[in-house]
Symmetry: C2
Subunit: 460 residues, 2 copies
Amino acid sequence: MTLPAALRPLLETTLGPGGVIAVPAALEPYERDETPGLAAAPDLVVLPRTAAEVAAVLRLATEHRFPVVPRGAGTGMSGGSVPVRGGLVLSFERMNRILEIDEPNRMAVVEPGVITGDLQAEVASRGLFYPPDPASHQFCTLGGNIAECAGGLRAVKYGVTRDYVLGLEVVLPTGEIIETGSRTLKNVAGYDLTRLIVGSEGTLGVVTRIILRLLPQPESVRTLQALFSDIRTAARAVSRIASGRILPRALELIDSGAIRAVESFLKQDVSGGAGAMIITEVDGPATATSGEIETLAEVCREAGAVSVKLARDKDEQDRIWKFRRSISPALYTIKPRKINEDIVVPPARVPDIIAEVQEIAKRHGLLIVCFGHAGDGNIHTNIMLEESERPRAELAVQEIFAAVLRMQGSISGEHGIGTSKAAYLRLEVGAQALEAMKRIKLALDPNNILNPGKIFLSAE
Amino acid sequence: MTLPAALRPLLETTLGPGGVIAVPAALEPYERDETPGLAAAPDLVVLPRTAAEVAAVLRLATEHRFPVVPRGAGTGMSGGSVPVRGGLVLSFERMNRILEIDEPNRMAVVEPGVITGDLQAEVASRGLFYPPDPASHQFCTLGGNIAECAGGLRAVKYGVTRDYVLGLEVVLPTGEIIETGSRTLKNVAGYDLTRLIVGSEGTLGVVTRIILRLLPQPESVRTLQALFSDIRTAARAVSRIASGRILPRALELIDSGAIRAVESFLKQDVSGGAGAMIITEVDGPATATSGEIETLAEVCREAGAVSVKLARDKDEQDRIWKFRRSISPALYTIKPRKINEDIVVPPARVPDIIAEVQEIAKRHGLLIVCFGHAGDGNIHTNIMLEESERPRAELAVQEIFAAVLRMQGSISGEHGIGTSKAAYLRLEVGAQALEAMKRIKLALDPNNILNPGKIFLSAE
């Protein structure tokens, strides 16, 4: 779409100096997120500073019926922040303040544009801990984390973003500013609007302030890296750890394709040619973690690890995690294209889904790289391809999703539906639950101005 | 209302032998829950055995426009299961099976009529742990816990019911059977219908099957009871523990009125005339909990405790918790009536809200008994009264709520809004959030047949 020309001066007045980006070259960074192969140009980008400004923009959008697409740092993996129908991108670059860290109550109040890693570091300096830890924590924003209900590395013990959001200030699509939740750990006053907004991918309301729960920083953290000759053996080790009595705070599985990619990307041989890697980490009182990490090391050895290394200090821990966090950028060096999926199965089914994905890859002659948060059953499956392989890859995706749903899993653990999985949502939730979701969307956004074209297929 | 006479045989056919209760005397137990002074007679009670039967009932209700009120064990405190507009009570007495305990994945699948304590005991026998622990756990049902998003004694560390619900089978008011969530710890496929239903007090859908997350049973549990000369000193000790580095799994505060009531009810002097009691408990690896409980004991002593007792074994722990769980029944022995509130404030404000409630009690010449989950800021404030004191008591309630909201708390931590707090919901959430909630209600229950008259005032 193209916005009416008269809107631009109105928006400039509303948002003040530097509040509107209109130069085509300057709009270009707002065309895409990290979803492969997806881009669409916004008509304008606006940079609000307050909830009132967001409300003014949404009232204009209601009046003139143009799409408004909220955007954090654009690190999303399913197209959530891409303006597929044009209109305005609402970027939170100017709403990036940590407003308060309430130490006695262990809460933080932030604007949506705060980088997740910045909050983690700030609270850590005060002996506090913000557990959700998406792999992109150095870049992604808390507003984006809330829109997608981001998970990450520590969900196996600590849960996901949803579990740390106590309250929100939200601007509804029709322009009302509401507050949800409170500064309390419990709250059952009416419907849980907080958690309806979390994970709604910017389609039900625009978050303008966030109250987050924090924890005391764990006294000690111990990390281990185990190497295996093949992925199936490693997956069985994951499954044993996941059903054991020790609850690790991270339990990651990395296959040979990902290992090779990272080793080439970082230009170092870390694994000596291993076929799979597990990284796991425990935290808690120092009196407990030493014994726990030794127990997990023993489980890995008994399950067939060819080598197990316990990090001796923070530096070694950081090196292990740097390896893990390098996977996403490294994969781009293997093949020009990828289709990245974000499947999740019951944790004990990890060996089964890994075996099934391998079968599917073989059947279609595709390279599928698997890695991710295996402790909570969440595996990032990346189909690496030349453009010519795409039709086969699409078939493989359908087969992978069918296997996941047979195992009572989900097609998206933490990346969201956006545009890239909208065609498959019905397969998971069924026509009637999808209809219920659409009735909720219509109830809160009757004019369909907020992030249209996401989650639901246009034709539906 | 009175149902059309023709409905009864239809329902009897649908629900089979023993599926419909129509004898007035047999309906009487379904007139009330644990909300003081509230009762209303249903026209009929139906006892479904399957989701399909629930759906059939809801389709009849849609066709004939009569209210349907889901009911667990009737232990609610805000009127959620009372049929205030007559119609059908849908009781889950015949849907009370634990369908599966999936040990490798640490999940349980249950019907809504399962008693919470029965599930706790069953999973404990397998080395697993279901943390949510309402004080009524021996009587209340998991379906009721989900309707109200029950909290309880362990929320300070483990969160509330919401945090353990992975998926639901739900019958929508219009009769469709949907499944939400999955058997996974992460799931972002579309809107979070699971957590919209949790805490919706049986107004948005009828839960017919529940997938719950379990944890490994903690290796050790240590409990302490500390006595104080007065409630304000005890409240300060709570606040110090709550903001400290050790996260107890329970942190309860009990005032002198509650202590006296329980001592008289149990016919034993436990406290030697103390003015307040704290019960706190830690769990985790045995190497850690011994030191942690000693540290908490020291915090209590430094904060002015007159005595601190560490439970030496399971028997002593059980005695301490029996004291705590006896408060609700014991209070009925003090005065004929009570108004029980369920306020929650940021944990560090517990001393302030306790002081404020005492002021309000004094000003109105009322006896207000305070106890509860002080570690998460959730205080049950019980105004004990003769009928003649009610007008003063109503004023006191308004003043207490105003104080709670000034402290950024909530008028209901875990009991829900139901009918008893519906008049105050707008005060907390504001007119526009209330309107958004009503739009969601209308979207899912267009005929207002499911638990009408709850959460929202009729006149609104």
